[in-house]
Amino acid sequence: MNTQDTRRPSGKKLSLKEKYAQMTRGLGWDTTYEPMDKVFDQLGLEGIKIHDWDKWEDPFRLTMDAYWKYQAEKERKLYAVLDAFQQNNGHLNISDARYVNTLKLFFTGITPAEYNAHRLFSMLGRQFPGPGAAIACQMQAVDELRHVQTQIHCISQYNKYFNGLHDHTVMNDRLWYLSVPKSFFEDAISSGPFEQIIAISFALEYLLTNLVFMPFMSGAAYNGDMATVTFGFSSQSDEARHMTLGLECIKFVLEQDPGNAAIIQRYLDKWFWRGYKVLGLVSMMLDYMLPKKVMSWKEAWDIYFVQNGGSLFNDLSRYGLRMPKYWEQSVAEAEHLSHQTWNAFYNFSGAAAFHVWLPSDEDMAWLAEKYPNTFDQHYRPRIEHYRKLQAEGKRYYNPSLPMLCQTCQTPLIFTEMDDPTRTSHRQLEHDGDTYHFCSDGCRDIFAGQPDKYVSAWLPAHQILQGNCVEPGAEAAGDPGADALRYFHVVAGQDNLDYEGSPDEANWLRWKGLDKMPPAAAA
């Protein structure tokens, strides 16, 4: 350690890679006063074997100073847009107030999920012993918090003018259909660290997130929602880093030990299907909820899953991985998914925090063009029937509580793909009880970890058992009314049809359309 020998000011220039390695990779050490497996005590939970964390390849080599610099620039741009949006009542420039219902679903379903991701990546940032992997996770942990907050600040303006956005965190914990994304994220966060990262970084971010953000943000742009486009694309610029983390991670784990592949394949099968079931909500956003449509769910699934996911699995096949189980079924279902999902919400809109409506003639022409094999045959007649009932003042609501899938928690609303008149319903016995599932995929997932899934908090069951009563409030005795209050859904304000809602009345007034004859205002 002769200082004179090592002092070479103005030495060689380091490449980005070398600089990052010097500044980062040597920071960790093998502890000796405390055993490593006590310092990093979750690594043995899953049977994944890692022999050398130094083999981790850093996908993006951002040092903290560069991170602060670029992220600050993004935030300056984003908040300049949000300020302008608020000062200029930008919410009046959207295509139609129906559009805001996509934001309600996003804000109550996805934003709380991003919060869970913030905490999940903090866990991973602490649990992975290699600084390369840990740092990538830590940056994602703080990025995810960014996404939560920029979404809140964007929606803040909408919340001042539209209903259904006012209590997104409580709704996410309690509202029945939001248990679909909630249970997805809690399933991930309650898993071991490798399953956590495969679930979120790989299955969700890499394989599926493009389906949420790319068409949805283009849809926002198309529908005049400047604020959402801006936060969406700004979030996505972090997402590019996160997706790369997912791919690097899976390769690293697969290259570390041949025994890991079987475990990873199991995770992929599970999390592909888990993620796919959450995306059912996105399918109806694209096909039914955007007043000006960008692309159909089927087109999005073709581009971002079939083509993009196909390329990915081509690349991974040399590790012995195959496409996730039941992917073919997801392709077949793409013809049906959005229609059946929207139908369910039309039936149960009394208990939802957003509004529904029947598609217009123009909408139906678009759906028929995008779904030539299914729409006119199966779904147009039903919509026309609902229209007729509505015209007669007999708007159809489903008064019962739907049976929920024990795994993904969607109601059993989907049909068999070879017979669109027969509900897809699977069962399994476990410890003397019968459990119900929406699909083979969900039944298989349950069968893999029955003790985990029996503990799921199924909203329909909880309502029937009288557990959905606002704490501190007196039960009204009407489970439906009690449940709405428990969900923090204001009856007559947040739920039911768009037509006749306070949102509609406000919109028409703000736009000066309320004084026009109804035909011109529509």
């Binding site: 980005l16 993006f60 670029y70 953000f213 283009s218 694309f233 610029s237 997402e239 079939v306 993009n308």
Partner: protein
């Protein structure tokens, strides 16, 4: 899935910062296909896509820091190989 052509892509925000980046991608990747969508430009290429700092600098006429792509990148697919001179997306590294 072997019947499917492995495509990589890069999606960028539509703005003045990305215009030279898209031009550079077109120049250096003759097979790339550019899709202009609302607020976003998606560039697909069979198997491999390379973004070269030198090409962007040539178009811009000034220095350009490749890491600043982080400001405008919306999404990508493929394995990422990044240095200070180029960013490569590819399958089968």
């Amino acid at each position: 899935m072997t019947s499917i052509q492995s495509t990589v892509f890069m999606a960028l925000q539509t703005n003045d910062d990305t215009r030279p980046i898209i031009e550079a991608l077109q120049r250096d990747n003759p097979d790339a296909v550019v899709h202009r969508l609302p607020a976003m430009v998606k560039i697909d290429a069979p198997g491999r896509l390379v973004l070269k700092r030198s090409t962007v600098e040539e178009i811009l006429g000034t220095d350009w820091d490749l890491q600043s792509i982080n400001l405008n990148l919306i999404s990508l697919s493929g394995n990422v190989d990044e240095s200070e001179d180029e960013m490569i997306l590819h399958w089968n590294r």
